[in-house]
């Protein structure tokens, strides 16, 4: 196996693939990166058994300056290999596999020889061939991931909640994540075949890595789902992830259908106020801020109290306050995460009682995005 390639491009692809490679893996060969060269081009593969990323460098694309001497495959230690490649002196580099998987890297007058491993021992990636592929706009997918991943649980005690629940039915994609303290739900309409139906749980960590892999020049992402794997194809990158097994708890009933108190805020303004109030609540043991709504006086006020440091009180700018008087306490961190996911927009907050969860929705489009926050138990 021998080829030469433009180094800057190679480094970029290497970085993409390296996201999947972890130094803490139980399978030693997975600390390596697999290079497979065919007449069509060069395929780079990285994996940590949970997620796998493949990047393809086409031989026909002039920009790649890929010149193939002879085809073959090799596995090289990822960390050393990428550090060497990044520091090579010239614009182009040449890689040649010699006897006993010894691999020579040359660029200008520098020459490295590193020990490789037999590519035949590298685990095979699952083959996912299904006709039922789903094409999603890359920016929309990124947004969907950013909006739901915040609510994913970080605790391994309930593994199923570390994933995002994706349900595709009747051209509607529903993405839900919850850690049981808060919940985020996003709906998307997709122009796809009506027969396509999926119900899967994708690890939140995988989705986060996926959205980091999606560069700005990628326009659409193709999603394919098999038994226990999901594959996202974005341009020349293929992203495989394991699916979580098990039943996701029923979440639709958690979202209240009616409310007794409603109010509207500007999301960034409310976020700023919550951030101010949380300065003190963070110092106290329970990290709680209190919100009082009084429709009779048209007044909305938040309070933060930390017995050791002091307290804060702020009257909030709001509109359309309606319903019953209410006093509710919640964790400001959940509120901050939720508000950030809305961006620059007006939101409506709906409460049922001081003990029931409350919801945040964009005022413009109340159907497609919901954030739910559970109040703190007060005694």
């Amino acid at each position: 196996m021998q080829f030469s390639i433009k180094r800057t491009l190679f480094v970029k692809k290497l970085n993409d693939v390296q996201r999947a490679i972890s130094s803490k893996t139980t399978i030693p060969i997975l600390t390596g990166i697999k290079l497979a060269l065919t007449d069509a081009g060069l395929m780079l593969t990285g994996s940590d058994a949970d997620i796998s990323i493949e990047a393809f460098i086409s031989a026909t694309d002039e920009k790649n300056e890929l010149e193939i001497g002879s085809t073959g495959a090799i596995v090289l230690p990822a960390r050393f290999f990428s550090e060497i490649v990044k520091k090579l002196p010239e614009d182009t580099m040449t890689l040649e596999v010699k006897d006993n998987f010894q691999t020579e890297l040359r660029s200008g007058s520098a020459s490295f020889t590193i020990n490789g491993l037999d590519a035949n021992n590298y685990p095979h990636l699952p083959s996912i061939d299904t006709e039922k592929q789903v094409v999603i706009d890359a920016n929309v997918l990124k947004q969907l991931i950013a909006q739901t991943v915040i609510a994913v649980s970080t605790q391994e005690s309930r593994p199923i909640l570390t994933g995002v629940h994706l349900v595709l039915d009747n051209q509607e994609l529903l993405a839900v994540a919850t850690d049981s303290h808060r919940l985020s739900q996003r709906k998307l309409h997709l122009d796809i075949d009506k027969d396509i139906h999926y119900d899967v749980i994708i690890p939140g960590k995988s989705l986060l890595e996926l959205s980091r892999t999606l560069s700005d020049d990628v326009e659409t992402v193709e999603m394919r789902i098999a038994e226990n794997q999901v594959l996202f194809v974005a341009g020349t990158i293929s992203f495989y992830s394991r699916l979580l097994e098990g039943n996701y708890p029923e979440t639709s009933r958690l979202i209240p259908s009616s409310s007794t108190t409603q109010v509207e805020f500007n999301a960034p303004q409310l976020l700023a106020a919550i951030e101010r109030a949380s300065l003190l609540s963070h110092a106290s043991h329970n990290n709680v801020i209190k919100l009082t709504l009084d429709p009779a006086k048209d007044d909305v006020t938040i309070y933060g109290n930390s017995p050791d440091v002091g307290n804060v009180q702020e009257t909030l700018t709001h509109s359309n306050l309606d319903g019953e008087q209410l006093e509710i306490s919640f964790n400001p961190d959940y509120m901050k995460d939720a508000l950030r996911s809305f961006g620059q927009t007006e939101i409506q907050v709906a409460f049922t009682s001081a003990l029931r969860p409350f919801t945040l929705v964009p005022t413009e489009d109340q159907d497609h995005f919901v954030q739910l926050i559970t109040p703190v138990r007060t005694f």
Partner: protein, 118 residues
């Protein structure tokens, strides 16, 4: 002479520590008794309150006074779950009986307690 003194004070200290331990034991037993009594009284108090409410409800019915608009009361079983939840335990199907970490709320539990059964 110095050594003798040191030894004496050590013996003295040992005796003090033993006495202290005995006192701690005693106090612990007392505390347990107080706690038990407290729990008993709480339960008793609750029973009495329930009884009082019953009597009052009966009286209200008799005099046909319009009842003040109270929040819809939870059924007895749900009130029980609520009590468990307030005591810091999950009552949802997924995590029933385990502790609520750091007093964090749980949306599934709240649904079990307050949610509408369809």
């Amino acid at each position: 002479m110095e050594k003798q003194k040191l030894y004496d004070s050590f013996v003295q200290l040992e005796a003090d520590a033993k006495r202290m331990l005995a006192r701690i034991d005693e106090m612990q037993t007392d505390l347990m008794q107080v706690l038990e009594r407290d729990a008993e009284l709480e339960i008793e108090n609750q029973h009495l309150r329930e009884r009082l409410q019953e009597i009052q409800a009966a009286a209200d019915k008799k005099s046909e006074r319009p009842k003040t608009a109270a929040a819809p009361r939870l059924s007895k079983s749900r009130a029980n779950l609520k009590k468990l939840y307030k005591a810091g335990f999950h009552v949802c199907n997924q995590m029933y009986g385990s502790r609520l970490d750091d007093d964090e709320p749980c949306a599934f539990c709240l649904d079990v307690i307050y949610g509408e059964r369809r």
